[in-house]
Amino acid sequence: MKAQQLKIALRNCGVIDPENIQDYIAREGYLALGKCLAGGSREAVVETVKKSGLRGRGGGGFSTGMKWEFAAKPQSDRKFVVCNADEGDPGAFMDRAVLEGDPHSVLEAMAICGYAIGAEDGYIYIRAEYPLAIKRLKTAIAQAEEAGLLGSNIMNTGFNFKIYLKYGAGAFVCGEETALIKSMEGHRGEPVSKPPFPATKGYRGKPTNVNNVETFANVAAIINKGADWFASIGTEKSKGTKVFALAGKVKNVGLVEVPMGTTLRELIYDIGGGILDDKEFQAVQTGGPSGGCLTVKHLDTPIDYESLVASGSMMGSGGMIVMDEDDCMVAVAQFYLEFTVEESCGKCVPCREGNKALYNILHKITHGSGTMADIDRLKELSVVIKSTSLCGLGQTSPNPVLSTINNFYDDYVQHVVDKKCRAKRCRALLEYLVIEENCIGCGACKRACPADAILGEPKKKHFIDQEKCIKCGACYQKCKFNAIAID
């Protein structure tokens, strides 16, 4: 039987009109909040979330219920609930879909969290690059306040909860909760060392609970249907479902939600429809710049927090990029490192300098001047960066390098020893050659060549001077007789 989707976080996406609160209420919206306010004690709410086994969907995978418990404990005049909607992973758009398609589910869960930990103010920290999500959130907040489901004295229970928006400004590191809080306070989004955890000292120095959008989107369903129901879905340690943004070289690019424990193969082939143009599967990247590239031998790995870490990647926020035979894994590692170098906040040395060094070595390798010692150096340096960086960004940034070395070692060796790129993605390692029997000497390639690297008389065989060739591919594109080969 083919694997099926199971929609909990996305239960209303694509079904309801996100700008109409009545649509949401018709599908049990705000009933969970009502249930908590009318009957459940604060402790009981925390207990339910804890018992459900819900874990942070932003990547870390920490128990949500325990996080709430930590924030509920301290006595304070003010506390805050923060929703992390700074979806910065390249290739991930789960949060955007939830906020655009079902904003009330996040608002309701934030209010439930506020009740559970004793907070009256909620903030959604959202990317400024998501104008539609921002617009729909604003509409939803206004509607909920008008209906008396947010604001002061909600449903005459004496509970007050208001929600505000804060805009991010494009910094990947702000997904880290301490950096996010710094950014909310108007500073550079640099992380600080923990402890103290935000649960004791967070936004404005007050106890703060930060959860990701998808985590919140599960909460109302858990309260309505019970912790046992949620805990019955998934695997032993990873409960419920996970939303993935399936993209790259897969037929059905899209947003999917599957029970934890579904295998990568089921996700890519049953739900994703297999590889685009029926090419050969090469790798799947999970966890974004903090994750790793998994290969054919991992296809039957069940998707849960522990299994993905054990195979050298991580759950991450849910980006899942499929790569085929035409992708060069060394270049992919370089791509992620380029991202990390740009996004490192620069506060701690291992991340700031170490990742730059990793990038330089990878650049050397993809440009044909790498050595075998460089591969060892990559590994050594990666271990140091992982163990000494200040925050999650640096502690995970070498994962794309380590996982590609582990799973695609031969590709590294080929780049270093043979100076070749199997996938033909690394331009500097390509060689353009004239296939003599096909060349009619028309001269089209010669005229197209910007480096004057093609020699030959009209109507005679041409040839390419490799010393001069800048590997731009212009000749290859111009030739109508299949007389240029790429090696």
């Binding site: 099926q4 989707q5 199971l6 929609k7 996305l10 996406c13 694509g14 079904v15 309801i16 009109d17 996100p18 700008e19 609160i21 009545q22 649509d23 209420i25 018709a26 599908r27 049990e28 919206g29 705000y30 009933l31 009502g34 249930k35 306010l37 009318a38 758009f93 955007r96 879909a97 655009e100 398609g101 079902d102 998501y130 539609l132 999500a133 729909r136 509607q143 008008e146 209906a147 008396g148 489901l149 449903m155 005459n156 229970t157 993209a247 037929k251 059905n252 690019v253 899209g254 947003l255 999917v256 939600e257």
Partner: protein, 122 residues
Amino acid sequence: MEKVTNVEQLKALQSALSKEAEQAASKKVIIRIAMATCSIASGAKPVLDFFTEEMPRQPLEFIIKSTGCTGLCHSEPTVEVTLPGKAPVMFGKVDVKKANEIVNDYIKGGKQIEGILEVSRS
């Protein structure tokens, strides 16, 4: 919307609204057009405009809803049509021409037409 002043009132409102939705589904054509960022980028707006202009000209009761992401990025813009008492049917890569076909052939004519996606709604 009227202010909800206690939890019981919310429960009553919920059951009234869900009953209303059920009744609507039994006699009205429900058209859901995905209007998320990627749907709009692939051309959902003219499709939505077409339905909102065209449907009132038909002798049918209908509801048009613009929704969020259906998760079917590969086939945006998507339109889901539920005929009274029938299971929802999802159309992919809908443009105005296709929308016209959906109205005339599928909704009015009751014919099976191309472009139906295999999806199940849990």
